[in-house]
């Protein structure tokens, strides 16, 4: 059996990649993908702890989380599509209307 630490390490790496992407990327799609990565890192943790503790709750929770992530992605992409139609770009450098 693979020790729990391995799962956690993987999740941490995934999370960090996502975090890094979130902070550095300019494209809306890439940022959305990075958010998905972070979310999946969390899901991985949930599943890992679930099997480690022999408790199914964590896995059910992960399923909910995946469903929510799908919704979020749908909405996110819809917003990005709308933005693209309006501004001809999805680079967040140009989408800063929520400024002072």
């Amino acid at each position: 059996m693979i020790p729990i630490a391995f799962y956690l390490a993987l999740a941490a790496i995934l999370f960090s990649i996502g975090l890094y992407g979130l902070m550095t990327q300019r494209s809306g799609i890439r940022i959305l993908m990075c958010v998905e990565l972070m979310l999946n890192a969390a899901n991985l943790n949930l599943v890992a702890f679930s099997s480690y503790n022999h408790d199914l709750t964590g896995q059910v929770f992960a399923l909910f989380s995946i469903a929510l992530a799908a919704c979020e992605a749908a909405i996110g992409f819809a917003i990005l599509m709308a933005l693209y139609r309006m501004k001809d770009t999805i680079s967040l450098d140009h989408i800063n209307v929520l400024r002072w």
Binding site: L19, L22, M23, T24, Q25, R26, I31, L92, D93, N96, V97, L98, R99, W100
Partner: protein, 671 residues
């Protein structure tokens, strides 16, 4: 039922008349004058009956009190002092009202006039009847506001509106002093009762106040390093109120301007009501003054000074009514002097002062009504345009002569022959002599003698300029109607004979107030609280010259006036020139207007203080705005952090979370 039970009607009837006339007067002939006339006539009858009853049974003083609120009450008190005042006020007011029917017949708002005069009379009667100092103050203020309304009766005239305001404000200065006196008195009594006042005890009632004079006198206040007994302080403040109301120096400035109202109003203000209130106040609280000899000294000096000060201005005025106005101020000075000499002669001072007050009311009302009659007929009150009026208005002229003789105080000392003014003014001057003899303060006596000379001079000057000789301008004119001449004649009878008929009884009757009846205090005991002794009576005999002196100076005044204005042996033009500094000083009334009104009220109070206040207020506003600007600026700088770039927000969130984790870790380990 005793007649005293109806005493409450005396002020209530004119007050009701005010309400009725105010609402119904317009629909009735001559402005509904009949309502106040009937009301005041009834009041007069009641007052007269009460007075006669008191003369017969001095112990039947009317005294009724009802709880008002807290430890204060309303009530009525008719003792001899109040009774004679009531009778005089109702009588003079009644005659003036009857006279006004003719006088105001051409005015456009007679109903308002009669309503206001009725209220004026009612307030004055309420003042006289009060059995406590607070109610007296309330009516005192009502008298003030009625005078405001009446002086400003022709409010569309700017000068009338200004004069009304000036009268109200000037007397208000005195009123505030009076109020301060009441407040100090209240707190003293409150402390004497130790904060718990038993039910049924009304602490501002006169008997309650007088009963605690020794306790009040024992209290001392430290004012700018001077130890002052509270009784002195309170009486001085009361006198301050009297100074304002009774036109004593330096708060007399409103009185001559009060001539802007109808002449009948002047008669009402100057004779029966308002100005006598100050004298009455001092008389009413006389036991307190007796215990405060310093205050009485001030009263005497201020009175004597006012008497001569106003008389000097009276001799140069060319306006018929202004001469009379200054004459009123001067005569009020005499009355104050009469009260002030109480420091030597005790409660009798109230008698002689009140005697002069009553006599003055008759002859001064008469003088004003005569002047009103002249003005009504010829349409001007500038004496320089008149002359020879006696030919067209014989009745007016005759009554005017009677009044002038009374004012000048013509009569033979030692007998009961003489005009009313003679008896009372002589009594005051003689007692001023006694006062000087006892206390060594001779100045009041000297001033009062010179003022007597000036009095006679200005009133005969007025007579000669107005009624004697040939008309200086073509004024036309006619004798006034019967409704005006009848009151004149009645008043003339009183002016000539009232003093002579009552001089024996009056003094004892009124002075008894403070000896036997209501107050029941030993005047000598009170004086010893003040630390002095009253002159014992009977031992003093004035030299003959003192007795004759007032008559001599009065005749001298007549002679001078006759020589100058009757025979014209002195050319007035050389004296009455703008270059003569004394004339200029007098004619400009010692520049009081410039000093009090233009400089003090306008420059110092209005422009100085008020605008300084405005600047300060802007300062407060600025402070508040500064805070709001500061907040705005802070927001302005802080909003720069909102870049709108998602990555920046994300970075901030992540940094924040990381710091939080580290912080928790550190804190946990420390704990």
């Amino acid at each position: 039922m005793a007649v005293g039970d109806f005493a409450f009607l005396i002020p209530v009837l004119p007050a009701l008349a005010f309400v009725l006339t105010f609402f119904l007067g317009k629909k009735l002939p001559s402005g509904g004058a009949i309502i106040p006339i009937v009301a005041i006539a009834t009041s007069f009858v009641i007052s007269l009956l009460i007075t006669l009853n008191l003369l017969a049974n001095p112990e039947e003083v009317v005294s009724q009190s009802y709880s008002w609120f807290a430890m204060l009450n309303i009530g009525i008190l008719v003792d001899p002092l109040a009774a004679v005042m009531l009778t005089m006020v109702t009588l003079v007011s009644l005659l003036i009202h009857i006279y006004s029917v003719g006088y105001m017949s051409h005015d456009k708002a007679p109903s308002r006039y009669f309503a206001e005069t009725a209220l004026f009379t009612a307030s004055m009667l309420g003042l006289v009847l009060s059995d406590n100092i607070l109610q007296l103050f309330i009516c005192w203020e009502l008298v003030g506001v009625c005078s405001y309304l009446l002086i400003g009766f022709w409010f569309e005239k700017p000068s009338a509106a200004t004069a009304a305001k000036k009268a109200f404000l000037t007397t208000r200065v005195g009123d505030v002093m009076f109020l301060a006196g009441i407040i100090i008195l209240f707190s003293d009594l409150f402390k004497i009762f130790n904060g718990t006042i038993p039910d049924g005890v009304y602490i501002l009632r006169f008997d309650e106040i007088f009963a605690h004079i020794p306790d009040i006198a024992a209290m001392n206040a430290n004012i700018f390093g001077m130890e002052v007994s509270h009784i002195t302080l309170i009486t001085l403040l009361f006198f301050g109120g009297a100074v304002g109301k009774s036109g004593q120096f330096p708060l007399h400035v409103w009185l001559p301007d009060a001539m802007e109202g109808p002449t009948t109003v002047s008669a009402l203000i100057h004779a029966a009501t308002m100005v006598t209130a100050g004298v009455y106040l001092v008389a009413r609280t006389f036991p307190m003054f007796i215990a405060a000899p310093d205050s009485l000294m001030v009263v005497a000096y201020v009175g004597a000074f006012t008497a001569i000060f106003a008389a000097t201005m009276g001799i140069v005025m060319n306006d018929l009514k202004r001469v009379l106005a200054y004459s009123t101020i001067s005569q009020l000075g005499y009355m104050m002097l009469g009260l002030g000499v109480g420091a030597a002669i005790g409660a009798e001072a109230v008698g002689i002062s009140l005697f002069h007050l009553i006599n003055h009311a008759f002859f001064k009302a008469l003088l004003f009504l005569c002047a009103g009659s002249v003005i009504h007929a010829v349409g001007t009150h500038d004496m320089r345009q008149l002359g020879g009026v006696a030919k067209v208005m014989p009745i007016t002229a005759a009554t005017m002569v009677a009044a002038s003789l009374a004012l000048a105080g013509i009569g033979i000392p030692g007998t009961s022959i003489g005009t009313s003014g003679f008896f009372s003014k002589d009594a005051i001057i003689e007692n001023a002599y006694l006062f000087g003899d006892t206390t060594g303060a001779w100045i009041p006596y000297a001033l009062s003698i010179v003022a007597a000379l000036l009095t006679s001079l200005y009133i005969f000057r007025l007579l000669f300029m107005t009624f004697y000789g040939k008309p200086r301008t073509d004024y036309g004119g006619h004798e006034s109607p019967g409704s005006m001449t009848v009151p004149l004649s009645i008043l003339a009878v009183f002016a000539l004979f009232f003093g002579g008929l009552t001089s024996k009884t009056f003094n004892t009757f009124v002075s008894e107030t403070f000896v036997n009846n209501f107050v029941n205090m030993d005047i000598h005991e009170l004086a010893s609280i003040g630390g002095y002794h009253l002159a014992s009576h009977g031992g003093h005999h004035e030299p003959l010259i003192i007795l004759w002196m007032p008559l001599i100076v009065a005749l001298a005044g007549f002679v001078i006036a006759f020589l100058i204005y009757g025979l014209k042996i002195v050319n007035m033009d050389s004296l009455v020139s703008r270059n003569n500094p004394i004339y200029k000083l007098l004619y400009n009334r010692y520049y009081q207007n410039a000093i009090f009104t233009d400089f003090f009220s306008v420059k110092v109070i209005y422009e100085g203080f008020a605008f300084a206040g405005r600047a300060i207020d802007r300062g407060f506003d600025w402070t508040v705005n500064w805070f709001s600007d500061l907040t705005l600026e802070a927001g302005e700088s802080l909003r720069q952090f909102q870049t709108g770039a998602v990555q920046n927000y994300a970075t901030a969130v992540i940094t924040g979370v990381s710091l939080l984790v580290i912080l928790i870790k550190v804190v946990m380990e420390v704990i």
